[in-house]
């Protein structure tokens, strides 16, 4: 038994490590509540975290007593508690898509060593807002700051695919004649409505789009939309490289790792509603 007058000592290293593990388990339980509409019970949390129910129960009690979790409406399970709101002053709360995506662009560059681009929808166009260019022969961002119509280039179409069908139809109607920009964007010259809708279906089915640009120096690309919980577009992450290096086989081989890198970003995207896309009205 510890004497009341004994000076406080640091615990032996083993005990300290054990305590730190206990703290980390509590924090892991709290982190399990990241995501839209997270309501969890003891059993499912224990299963998800690979730990025993007793430990999860104790963690939930600590976190509930501290106000970071609260009982859910069913009285059985748990949800985030209002006291989370006390924790302010970290990184800016505003959803800065460029700052948020930057580390993921860097990771994708480290994985592929090819150029990586971040684009967003601005009105009826795609605009690249950040990029990392690979070294040597590479895909470059030759159109810095240029607004590319959402049906021109396959890259733009990945963003177009995230809009609703009536919205896309209205956009395409307003964009006629579709060959207006063919001289500027030869990649998708002489495109038909069917081709555009086929790309849209592909993005929606696969969750990404791969394509080649046969113009001039041949290059290959893969684009991943970052969407909110309703599927609306936050941004597009594209990786592109010269075809002799960034082959279809290499893209396919890297795909699982690209998806693994992007998954936390996609999760965060689902937490925040995308900025509404404001389209000019079609001429009457």
């Amino acid at each position: 038994m510890r004497s009341a007058i004994k000076p406080r000592e640091a615990p032996p290293p083993d005990e300290a490590r054990y305590r730190n593990q206990a703290t980390q388990r509590v924090l892991a339980v709290l982190s399990a509540f990241v995501g839209p509409d997270q309501v969890h019970g003891v059993t499912e949390l224990a299963r998800a975290l690979g730990t025993n129910k007793n430990m999860v129960h104790r963690a939930l009690t600590t976190l509930t007593e501290a106000g970071y979790l609260a009982r859910a409406a069913d009285g059985e399970r748990y949800q985030l508690g209002p006291r989370i709101l006390e924790l302010q002053g970290g990184e800016a709360d505003e959803f800065d898509i460029r700052a948020l995506c930057r580390p993921f662009l860097e990771e994708l560059y480290a994985l592929t060593e090819e150029s990586v681009f971040l684009s967003i929808v601005v009105g009826p166009s795609r605009v690249n807002i950040d990029w990392i260019e690979a070294r040597g022969r590479r895909v470059g961002n030759s159109l810095r700051g240029r607004a590319v119509p959402l049906h021109c280039t396959r890259m733009s179409r990945v963003l177009l695919a995230c809009l609703g069908d009536p919205e896309i139809a209205a956009y395409l109607d307003a964009a006629r004649p579709l060959d207006r920009y063919d001289a500027i964007f030869p990649e998708t010259a002489a495109a038909t409505l069917d081709e555009i809708w086929a790309d849209i279906r592909r993005v929606r089915h696969d969750g990404h789009l791969t394509w080649r640009n046969p113009q001039q120096y041949s290059s290959a690309y893969i684009g991943f939309p970052i969407q909110d919980a309703a599927g609306r577009p936050h941004a597009l992450v594209t990786i592109g490289g010269p075809m002799e290096r960034f082959t279809a086989e290499r893209i396919l081989a890297l795909l699982p790792r690209m998806l693994a890198i992007l998954e936390p970003l996609r999760q965060q995207g689902r937490l925040v509603p995308a900025v509404p896309v404001l389209m000019p009205q079609a001429p009457q």
Binding site: T23, L27, L30, T62, A70, A72, L85, L87, D93, L271
Partner: protein, 265 residues
């Protein structure tokens, strides 16, 4: 539960409440703990992403995991998704930043905003917490609470020692008559920002605030476009009446008296 976990949460709160990045010694002094204990707590918090080093220094700030939890909490209010296009519409129409606040217990929390057209803005952060008596957005909601709940709120404010303005009742009555709340701005004399309640079947479920000094208090009606802005918010009212489950507040099942948020500031 291990006291080390509780201690780590206290360290997290200390880092969160501090006005500048905190070092181990500062935290140890503030909490009367051994520096080694604080260091271990910070180590666990840093591993889980709850704190991070400020510009690669030995001082700490809150980490990305905290922000993800805050966003997850905001994401539980589906009213946010529904209102966002309306907020944008109002921001375009008024030129000012327009925000959405919801009640959490006896507090109002600012959970979404659409930026206005001004180059210089002075908006409070998302997640700003004020009592239901503070600020136009909060009062716009409180004014459309049943009298019994307003009375209960007053009791809560008394026990929490949160001062209530003497003229609160009179002001709530004025808001009910007018249909919206006003807030004077310090940098534009004679003008006021405006907050409009989003009304559910029993009480206000949110408030939408046009945060700039849009209303001219010397002129009747305040602004020629005010009726149009009111109509935009009335569209949301109609949605609430038609589909109230979409607007469910994820904290309404909790006892409001038991919700305590010690917001900074």
């Amino acid at each position: 539960m291990s006291s080390s976990a509780r201690r780590a949460l206290t360290i997290l709160e200390t880092v969160g409440a501090a006005e500048r990045p905190q070092g181990v010694t500062e935290i140890a002094r503030a909490l009367d703990l051994a520096p080694g204990t604080v260091f271990r707590g910070l180590d666990a918090l840093e591993r889980a992403g709850y704190v991070g080093r400020y510009q690669a220094s030995s001082r700490y700030v809150l980490g990305g995991a905290v922000n993800r939890l805050r966003r997850s909490l905001f994401a539980r209010f589906h009213i946010r998704e529904i209102c966002l296009p309306y907020l944008q519409q109002l921001a375009f129409a008024s030129g000012e930043t327009v925000s959405l606040s919801v009640p959490v217990g006896w507090y109002a929390v600012r959970i979404a905003a659409a930026p206005g057209l001004n180059e210089v803005t002075s908006s409070p952060p998302l997640g700003e917490v004020r009592s239901l008596a503070e600020g136009a957005a909060a009062r716009a909601m409180l004014a459309f609470y049943p009298a019994a709940q307003v009375k209960r709120f007053r009791g809560w404010a008394r026990t929490r020692r949160r001062g209530l303005p003497a003229e609160l009742e009179r002001e709530l009555r004025a808001i009910r008559e007018r249909g919206y709340a006003l807030e004077a701005t310090s940098f534009a004399a004679g003008r006021a920002a405006v907050a409009l309640p989003v009304r559910g079947p029993e009480r206000a479920v949110a408030a939408i605030a046009i945060e700039g000094p849009v209303l001219d208090l010397k002129h009747r009606g305040g602004h020629a476009d005010l009726p149009r802005w009111i109509r935009i918010v009335e569209e949301i009212d109609a949605l609430v009446r038609a589909r109230s489950t979409l607007f469910a507040n994820p904290f309404d099942h909790l006892d409001p008296d038991a919700i305590v948020i010690n917001a900074p500031g």
